[in-house]
Symmetry: C2
Subunit: 341 residues, 2 copies
């Protein structure tokens, strides 16, 4: 029954055990071509009882086909990429493609290494976060000759094609919504991440829209590492000590915004009358806070879904047409922390 010999089983073993040629065994195992019911049963029986697991390495080399899609993302620890993965998996499960995840920790050199490593397995497509990559990475992607979808961001020029939102616009829209509610003394808090281009673009869009209204950010603060909830609390405290006049706090993600919210509530500050708040991402995780946080969803699942569909479609038909850039539209939810009565 089990395999005692350390040598892994091969098609040949199944062939011998079933008295059918290797080729026919292969056909049965892949459901390819016509095979008589009787031999099919013999083969499946033999394969099962031996515990045969096909060797995809050999199969891929022979067929020049690899059903893998490389998915390259900066991190698994925040809520955003798991949701993108969910979208991707949902679509790919309907196909014979399989996602393989690589994580870059927001480091361009690591991205390069991971990409090289993944491309060397000759995947059928690449889904990669962001539009900013090293020259070498872009060159590899171009030279690979496979479909590449850059996700999350549309502010830039994709190597092949992109699905995402405009983070500049997201920042602008939030600024406009805040101004419209009559807030004027605005503070910003975010990650100290020169390499998080999307956070940077949101910040840029935000200040740009404020500037257009003749307003400058009153104060700003950046953090790195640690528990986001705790950091949001600390930064908010510090900032309000420095600038008690602030009437709005814009956070670059929902987690630190939640920390800020808890701080304000603890200190009896009236929300959103005295101070308003908003975050970014729309993480469901945070439903259940004492107040519903204003935020902007980043269309994460949809980005994953669309990206996977593009890959699947183009693997299916390499000459099919496709949009070079698909820009999704995030929506603001006002919650209880942005709308002044």
């Amino acid at each position: 029954m089990a395999n005692d010999d350390p040598r892994p089983l091969t098609l040949r073993d199944v062939s011998e055990a079933s008295g059918v040629s290797e080729m026919t065994v292969s056909r049965v195992l892949r459901n390819r071509g016509d095979v008589s019911q009787s031999t099919r049963e013999k083969v499946l029986e033999a394969a099962k009882s031996l515990g045969y697991v096909p060797n995809k390495i050999a199969g891929a080399l022979a067929s020049q086909r690899v059903n893998l899609v490389a998915v390259i993302i900066p991190s698994l620890s925040n809520m955003v990429f798991p949701e993108v993965m969910t979208g991707i998996s949902r679509v790919l499960e309907e196909t014979d493609l399989q996602p393989v995840v690589g994580v870059t920790d927001y480091l361009p050199e690591k991205e390069e290494r991971v990409l090289y490593e993944m491309l060397s397995w000759r995947p059928s497509g690449v889904i990669i976060a962001g539009l900013e990559h090293s020259d070498a990475s872009r060159a590899m992607l171009k030279a690979s000759g496979i479909p590449v979808v850059e996700i999350m961001d549309t502010d830039g020029t994709p190597v092949d094609c992109a699905v995402g939102i405009s983070h500049r616009r997201a920042g602008r829209e939030m600024a406009k919504a805040i101004l419209k509610q009559g807030y004027e003394k605005i503070g910003f808090m975010g990650t100290k991440m020169p390499l998080d281009h999307r956070a940077r673009k949101r910040f840029e869009g935000f200040t740009e829209a404020l500037a257009k209204a003749g307003i400058e950010i009153t104060d700003q603060e950046f953090y790195s590492g640690g528990s986001a909830l705790a950091k949001g609390r600390e930064m908010t405290e510090k900032m309000l000590e420095r600038e008690p006049e602030l009437d709005f706090l814009y956070y670059s993600n929902d987690m630190i915004a939640a920390g800020g919210l808890l701080y304000l509530l603890d200190n009896g500050i009236e929300i959103p009358g005295q101070v308003g708040l908003a975050g970014f991402n729309g993480v469901e995780l945070l439903d259940g806070l004492p107040r519903k946080l204003a935020t902007m969803d980043a269309c994460r699942t949809e980005i994953g879904t669309k990206a996977a569909q593009i890959i699947a479609g183009r693997v299916d038909d390499p000459k099919a047409a496709f949009d070079p850039i698909i820009e999704l539209t995030p929506t603001i939810s006002y919650g209880d922390t942005l709308r002044r009565r």
Copy 2:
């Protein structure tokens, strides 16, 4: 410079471009064997300018070696597995092994599929969550002939070896700590997941230790889906309506415990005097809550680290000895919600 021909580059292309035999090119690219400085440079130059990326499929088939470690986990969405991954990656980065992640969504059939798929790439080792697997999965793991580490749990019999904590004991220890503080009317809230064996074992250990002290759980409630924070809040509200006499709430994870905490605070219930709380996991994410939640860390990063070390060690030396079960010891942190004054 770039590759216009859709055909991917091969060693032969580099060989021709550099005027060196394929074999020597291969040696240079893998840093194997002695190659003169001058030919080495010629080769690297040629490979780089062509944008050559080696084909690992062919390499793996020829060398019968695949530097991949299959990591099979139920989910990426909660905080627990990303931390395990961190531990694994940290160790494997020091070696030439690479983790490849598969997700099962807590479904045994999906686990079986994912495992089959991964084993068909002939990885050098498997790290898989839990000790409960279908017969077919166990058979595959055994037959694979590669090192297998089952992680998270030690209450059971591993196929090969295991690293984790005893969730039964964890439940018992928490029960003892709660009783020691004088709490007596205890409610339990958790996930409605017959397939989350570790949550189940904690629950069993918990009730068992209470029983030994002659106490039964006063009330219990299970949820599925939705935002854990919100669910914790809702369940807590319902339970306290049903059983206003409750003096302690034990939650099967920190996220719902946090929701419960926020509910109690909102309703002016005194913690931990009137009602105490505890969760499970020790998620750093939650630092920053108004009170520090009592919890028990699950040694997640350490589990990842140890598991990866075992794989790396056994890949290095297949006949090295190893412990079949490594049980780590979780520690209770009392925070502000368990210690009665």
